[in-house]
């Protein structure tokens, strides 16, 4: 077994694993963007394989193919991002489960298991040192955002 063959082997293994991992991600994740990332990862796996073959055969074909797949991936990303933005505007969510309208008419819609919402952690604002005395306003300041910030600061 020659070195070039081993090198090819290695690239094929890395490419295959990247492809498989992308696939697993695509199948299991529900975020549209993450799914798309995973699809890109599958493409990367293929590109790695192609480059490995290119080096093994000492020809340009593999690399050229990879260049093309890169270009196609870029085009795909552009369209997919636009689609995702539109979908998000429609469904107000990136959940892929929202888009299952194309099922058999009398089949029930797949409902995901509901989990308890994790409480959104309180934003941890930095504690700034008070750089001066509080202004002495007659009323407490609660009206605007800007003033809200200043109250926080003031409380800190």
């Amino acid at each position: 077994m020659s070195n070039s063959a081993v090198a090819l082997n290695n690239y094929l293994i890395v490419g295959g694993l990247l492809f498989t991992l992308g696939l697993v991600g695509f199948l299991s994740r529900r975020n549209l963007i993450v799914m798309f990332l995973c699809a890109e990862m599958m493409l990367q796996g293929v590109s790695v394989t192609l480059v490995g073959f290119s080096g093994y055969h000492s020809t340009w074909s593999g690399q050229i193919f990879a260049v093309f797949s890169l270009a196609v991936a870029a085009a795909e990303a552009a369209v997919a991002m636009a689609l995702i933005v539109v979908l998000f505007h429609r469904g107000d969510s990136l959940d892929v489960s929202l888009w299952q309208d194309l099922h058999e008419p009398d089949q029930p819609t797949l409902v995901d298991e509901q989990i308890v919402d994790e409480p959104v952690p309180e934003p941890q604002w930095p504690h700034l040192a008070v750089a001066g005395p509080l202004p002495t306003h007659p009323q407490p300041l609660t009206a605007t955002h800007r003033q809200l910030d200043s109250t926080e600061v003031g409380r800190g």
């Binding site: 199948l27 299991s28 529900r30 892929v96 888009w99 194309l102 099922h103 009398d106 797949l110």
Partner: protein, 709 residues
């Protein structure tokens, strides 16, 4: 040289058709008639030249121009390959003759011109040219002007090819092609429901005949192993075949002729075909296409000569149709329909002549074909001229006394009517007289005519044994010659009298129509408006040209000079003896003509109550005639109604059994069996689809590797 001429004849209308079809709608528009007129005129000139060429040609009097080989199938030589592969064995006969399972099929598209075809061509192209010129006036301003001329050119081309066919398959092909053109032209005004129904009817009724024709062609191939006219139509070869088979072939071919030439019982389409434009009626449904059947039977004369039974059948159908159609024509009020029934009747005459079984009859039939083409085209075009002036009205009760308004049409129509009635010096007299003479002779000749025919054919065959066989067979046939229990001669005698009576009726109904149209008080339908006038000269000129033919053709070519008989004999050799004029027949038909015209004069030249009294006297007979012997109704109940019932039955069978249980059942079965379990898979979730796809891919790959490893 001559071959080039022959090729040029169909080429001209074909080019005209293509030009009109391609350029008509956009470029030519109102000038669309020029290609057709030019093409037909050129073809007519070539045909006249061909007429002369054929007359001067050497012995077989025939030219054949093969265009290309259409079909060439070498029958697989069964056994040849197998025997070659086997080692030689002592007891196996070492012959180079292979076992052929049948003859080779070899069909060429060829143009074959002999005197019969040349005659037909000359008539066809000449009449076409006249009709094309006439149409330029008649169809002026119609929508689809170019379409009309494209179809007409196509028809002329197809008809020329039909006439010039060199084999039965080509004949059949163009037989269908002219049928198609007829269909297209009858339905030219396709917005008119009656026209559409008529075109459909014509097409379907013709199918019945064509089916018989096709069977006949198949039978010819299985019997003779070839389809070329040269090979099939040789009397020596026919004499070798089984006479029963020949009779069957003849009957099948005649079925085709019955359909195309509108003989009883398939004549019902022709009167309805008058829904098409009048030039079409003149060209296709009077002069040319409907005579294709006559032409075909004349072409197959050697076959029919060898089948006396079939011949009698042809004559009987012809005579019967002639009488029937004439009876119907007596009471019709539609001018074009009178002419249509007259056409059917005259075609019946032609078949009567063809069936008479003598060269006199055949040449008489062909001559009648030619003269009829002229005077019937003339009459139709005259009727079209009347219709043109009357604003599309064709019912004779609606108009009358037109002779002063339309003098040209009146004169030419008179000539045509006289020719159709058969007044002595005009052309119709000569041809009709020849046919009646032939029928008379067939009725008074010895009964062994067919036998002598067969024995005459025999000398060409080698060996006395065969000859004796044929003679013996002929004797048998002669004793068997009976149809409907009557001897042939009796039938021919009956047919002669039927034909003579028909001549009387013909004269009567022709002049009935003539007087109703042109005599009596002047009456113009309101559709015509105030501008009822003579047709333009572009329409009148063809009328005059045709009327010259209708008047003098018989005198010039007919029995008096014997020119036509002699010309036709180059192709259809007859008994060789020149027939003496049968003065009895001549006298009878002359008397009959005058009687018919006179009766019509008394009854119709001015309005009186004579027709009504006659109708009252005839009672049910008149009603029978008026309703066309209820044949349409009979056919409706005999064929259409059962067919409709059968189609309804098939429809329900198709719905409930084939679709419902067969196709539908098969397609519902898996849905019913697996649908429940498979439907949840279609859940609309893209990840689920991807999962099943990749899982299946992985499992499949593993399975493949397992199998391979």
């Amino acid at each position: 040289m001559v071959n080039a001429l022959i090729c040029l004849i169909p080429l001209c209308p074909l080019i005209a058709c293509l030009t009109t079809a391609v350029l008509g709608a956009r470029v030519l528009r109102e000038r669309s008639h020029w290609p057709t007129i030019a093409g037909c005129g050129l073809a007519a000139a070539c045909s006249l030249a061909l007429l002369v060429c054929v007359a001067r040609s050497p012995e077989p009097h025939r030219y054949t121009a093969t265009l290309y080989q259409w079909v060439k199938i070498d029958t697989v030589e069964a056994g040849a390959a197998g025997m070659a592969a086997l080692p030689d064995e002592g007891d196996r006969p070492q012959s180079s003759v292979s076992y052929k399972s049948g003859p080779d099929l070899e069909i060429s598209i060829a143009l074959r011109a002999d005197s019969l075809a040349a005659t037909m061509l000359a008539m066809l192209t000449f009449v076409s040219t006249c009709v094309a010129v006439y149409s330029a006036g008649y169809m002026h301003g119609e929508r689809g002007y170019w379409r009309f001329f494209a179809f007409v050119s196509l028809f002329v081309f197809s008809m020329i090819m039909l006439v010039l066919s060199a084999n039965f398959l080509q004949l059949y092909m163009f037989w269908e092609a002219v049928g198609l053109c007829s269909y297209l032209l009858i339905g030219f005004w396709y917005e008119k429901p009656a026209a559409v129904a008529a075109s459909k009817k014509a097409f379907l009724v013709n199918r019945i005949g064509d089916f018989g024709f096709a069977i006949g062609v198949f039978l010819i191939w299985t019997t003779f192993g070839t389809l070329t006219f040269d090979a099939v139509l040789s009397p020596q070869r026919i004499a070798q075949m089984n006479p029963g088979l020949i009779t069957l072939i003849c009957l099948c071919l005649f079925t085709g002729a019955i359909g195309k030439s509108a003989q009883f019982p398939l004549h019902v389409w022709l009167p309805d075909a008058m829904e098409g434009p009048t030039p079409v009626s003149a060209l296709i449904h009077a002069a040319t296409m409907v005579t294709a059947g006559v032409y075909m039977v004349a072409r197959c004369t050697p076959l029919f000569r060898a089948a006396p039974d079939a011949q009698v059948f042809v004559a009987f159908i012809g005579g019967f149709t002639a009488l029937l159609a004439a009876l119907i024509a007596l009471t019709q009020y539609d001018l074009k329909r009178v002419l249509a029934y007259s056409t059917v009747s005259q075609l019946g005459y032609m078949f009567l002549g063809l069936g008479a079984g003598s060269s006199l009859g055949t040449s008489g039939a062909m001559f009648h074909l030619v003269t009829h083409a002229f005077f019937k085209a003339l009459l139709f075009l005259g009727a079209g001229s009347v219709m043109h002036a009357m604003g599309g009205v064709i019912d004779m009760r609606e108009f009358g006394g037109l002779r002063r308004i339309m003098p040209q049409t009146f004169k030419t129509f008179l000539i045509g009517s006289l020719a159709l009635a058969g007044l002595p010096p005009l052309s119709g007299f000569w041809s009709k007289d020849t046919i009646l003479s032939a029928a008379w002779e067939a009725g008074h000749a010895e009964t062994h005519l067919a036998a002598t025919n067969a024995i005459e054919a025999a000398p060409a065959m080698q060996g006395a044994q065969t000859r004796a066989n044929v003679a013996a067979e002929s004797e048998q046939t002669a004793t068997k010659i009976r149809l409907f229990g009557a001897e042939h001669a009796t039938i021919y005698r009956l047919l002669f009298w039927m034909g003579s009576f028909t001549a009387l009726l013909t004269a009567f109904y022709t002049f009935r129509a003539f007087f109703l149209t042109f005599y009596g008080p002047e009456k113009i339908p309101h559709e015509a408006g105030h501008h009822a006038h003579e047709s333009p000269s572009v329409m009148c000129m063809p009328l005059w040209v045709l009327s010259i033919g209708a008047a003098f053709l018989g005198l010039a070519l007919g029995h008096l000079t014997g020119f036509f008989d002699g010309y036709l004999e180059m192709t259809l050799p007859g008994e060789g003896l020149h027939h003496a004029t049968n003065w009895f027949v001549v006298g009878l038909s002359t008397v009959v003509v005058f009687a018919g015209i006179g009766a019509a004069w008394f009854m119709y030249h001015e309005p009186n109550d004579l027709p009504a009294r006659v109708v009252a006297l005839a009672g049910p007979l008149a009603r029978l005639s008026l309703n066309k012997f209820y044949l349409d109704q009979v056919f409706f109940f005999m064929f259409v109604l059962p067919l409709r019932a059968a189609s309804q039955l098939s429809r329900f069978f198709d719905w409930f059994v084939i679709d419902g249980m067969g196709v539908g059942g098969v397609s519902r079965l898996p849905a019913w069996l697996f649908g429940k379990s498979a439907r949840p898979m279609q859940n609309g979730m893209v990840q689920f689809y991807a999962l099943s796809m990749t899982l299946a891919t992985a499992v499949l790959l593993a399975a493949l590797l397992w199998r391979q490893g």
